[in-house]
């Protein structure tokens, strides 16, 4: 590993930069991208550091080119990453579908901004559906991780590489402008791979062995159907083994927030305030958005009076919450598209739900 991989001491670091440190620590030496706010710190860092580590930084002519360069790099067995935001991620969907179909690992970072269309640069969680429901054509899933702190931007990027390799599938970091732009004290923990995976499928030159083929085209009888069922079985394994969620102050909770990323972060402050007022509030924070923590939500819904789903959009993850429990009358929603709810707003809703006068 490089000297960059394990700087010993605490430092004040931006979320976007923590993603870069995590990627480099995990052995990623290839990055392609195209500039877009609010993630430009990532290509800036990679441009400054990857060439010196013997890697490749390339500013592509577009995000369409970026994702296809990633396909090629991944097919050769190398770890590869890109980052972008809403509009750029949309341009990558065709290539992402090809990578999922070809079963190629890669890490795609979406530091989301407001949409649809060119939208704006305000923080948003409006890309949830695109990230967790497939995004491109043909029916596939990405592994989607949602960090809520600078430290987690680092750790989950390393995990994303490991999971992508383990399951031979692209993994996405779904952040937003706030967790990307904020700075926090950060300590670089050493890279401890969740699993080490051989890549016997990698195209490394066929001298002395049979030719290999990496592709998403299947024209023979039945072949594509078999392929789809195999992918399905893989996604079911991911659901079973890779679901991650953080329970926060759920002991005795009667009101449980369900939120991810920045919305969860703000929700934690509101919970601390609510607890001081004697309201038993807590949180279940999905860390993996695909796989979604269905069982955790199902069990939580049976224990609490209210599940308060908070999102920086008009209601997307709330659909997965509804799918996870039949107790729909316990689900409340607080949405704020393209803006961050303040802790004050969340506390006000918690008070209302607790039957307090405000």
């Amino acid at each position: 590993m490089s000297a960059l991989a394990a700087p010993p001491s605490k430092r004040l670091l931006k979320g976007n930069e923590a993603i870069c440190l995590g990627a480099v620590a995990a052995g990623c030496r290839h990055y392609y991208g195209y500039p877009i706010t609010p993630q430009n710190d990532i290509p800036e860092y990679m441009a400054a550091h990857l060439p010196a580590l013997g890697g490749t930084f390339l500013q592509a002519e577009s995000e369409v080119a970026t994702i296809n360069m990633m396909l090629g790099t991944s097919a050769s067995g190398k770890r590869v990453m890109t980052s972008s935001s809403g509009p750029g991620i949309s341009l990558m969907q065709e290539g992402l579908s090809y990578m999922a179909g070809s079963e190629l690992p890669a890490v795609i970072v979406n530091i989301s901004r407001s949409g649809p269309g060119l939208g704006g640069i305000a923080p948003s969680q409006g890309d949830y559906f695109q990230a967790v429901k497939g995004g491109g054509h043909g029916g596939y899933r990405l592994i989607v991780l949602a960090p809520h702190s600078v430290q987690e931007m680092y750790a989950l990027t390393m995990l994303a590489f490991d999971l992508a390799d383990k399951y031979r599938t692209p993994a996405m970091i779904l952040g937003d402008a706030i967790v990307g732009q904020m700075k926090e004290p950060f300590v670089a923990s050493p890279y401890d791979p969740a699993s080490t995976v051989e890549k016997p499928w990698a195209l490394t030159g066929c001298a002395g062995r049979e030719r290999l083929n990496v592709k998403s085209l299947h024209l023979k009888d039945n072949e594509i159907e078999v392929h789809n069922w195999r992918l399905h079985e893989k996604y079911e394994r991911i659901r079973k083994d890779e679901t991650r969620a953080e329970p926060y102050m759920l002991d005795g909770a009667t009101i449980a927030i369900v939120a991810f990323g920045t919305a969860a972060r703000v929700g934690k402050t509101a919970i601390q305030w609510a607890r001081k007022e004697g309201i038993a509030a807590g949180m279940l924070r999905p860390i993996t958005l695909f796989p979604f923590p269905r069982r955790e939500v199902f069990e939580l819904a049976r224990k609490v009076d209210v599940l308060l789903v908070i999102e920086m959009n008009t209601g997307q993850m709330v659909e997965d919450v509804r799918q996870s429990t039949p107790l729909h009358d316990r689900i409340a929603f607080l949405g704020k598209p393209c803006a961050m709810p303040t802790p004050e707003e969340i506390l006000e809703r918690i008070r209302l739900l607790a039957g307090r006068k405000v």
């Binding site: 004040l12 609010p38 640069i121 700075k183 926090e184 961050m340 707003e345």
Partner: protein
């Protein structure tokens, strides 16, 4: 010590610089801290703002709806942010550029700091205005120690400009003195 502050002014006044310096200082003192800058369209002459949250406990939200501190370096920022300041909160204004009559609230603690005038006349560089204001805020709020801010200056000022560190120290001291604090 727990506190939060929004700092705002023109791009180029050094708002993000002093916010970053305050956050770094808090970290050096072993506190939890978050620093969130406005991003994207900021440039010289535009507007810039940042939010710093300091706490002895783990910090939830890096953004605040009702900050306990507000540092205002120009007129347009006053209109936007003054309504947000928590009752009883600290308001530091750069009275060289912001008129006191713009302060339309009396439920807050106001400290007027002629930051540009002090920077130009007593430090010799108008660029030091934001440091004067930071010195005043640190002294007024006690959120971190002024001496730790001095210690952190070399970490935010590049080698190329390190000869200006003493100027920055003087600027911070001038600001602190206005808050009745003498380093």
């Amino acid at each position: 010590m727990t506190g939060d502050i929004i700092m705002a002014g023109f791009g180029g006044q050094g708002i993000l610089m002093i916010g970053n310096l305050l956050a770094l200082t808090a970290m050096e003192e072993g506190k939890h801290v978050t620093y969130f800058p406005a991003y994207g369209v900021e440039m010289r002459g535009g507007t810039a703002n940042c939010t710093v949250v300091v706490s002895d406990e783990e910090i939830g939200s890096p953004v605040v709806g009702r900050p306990k501190g507000l540092l205002i370096m120009n007129g347009p920022s006053m209109e936007r942010f003054l309504p947000m300041l928590a009752p009883g909160g600290d308001l530091i204004i750069n009275s060289s550029l912001v008129e006191e009559r713009q302060v339309t609230r009396n439920d807050i603690r106001l400290l007027s700091v002629p930051a540009d005038d002090i920077a130009r006349n007593r430090i010799g560089s108008r660029q030091m205005a934001s440091m004067v204001a930071l010195g005043a805020y640190v002294a007024l709020s006690g959120i971190v120690k002024l001496s730790t801010v001095f210690d952190c200056l070399p970490k935010v000022i590049s080698k190329k400009y390190e000869k200006f560190i003493p100027l920055n120290v003087n600027a911070l001291k001038e600001g602190a003195a206005l808050a009745g604090f003498h380093a």
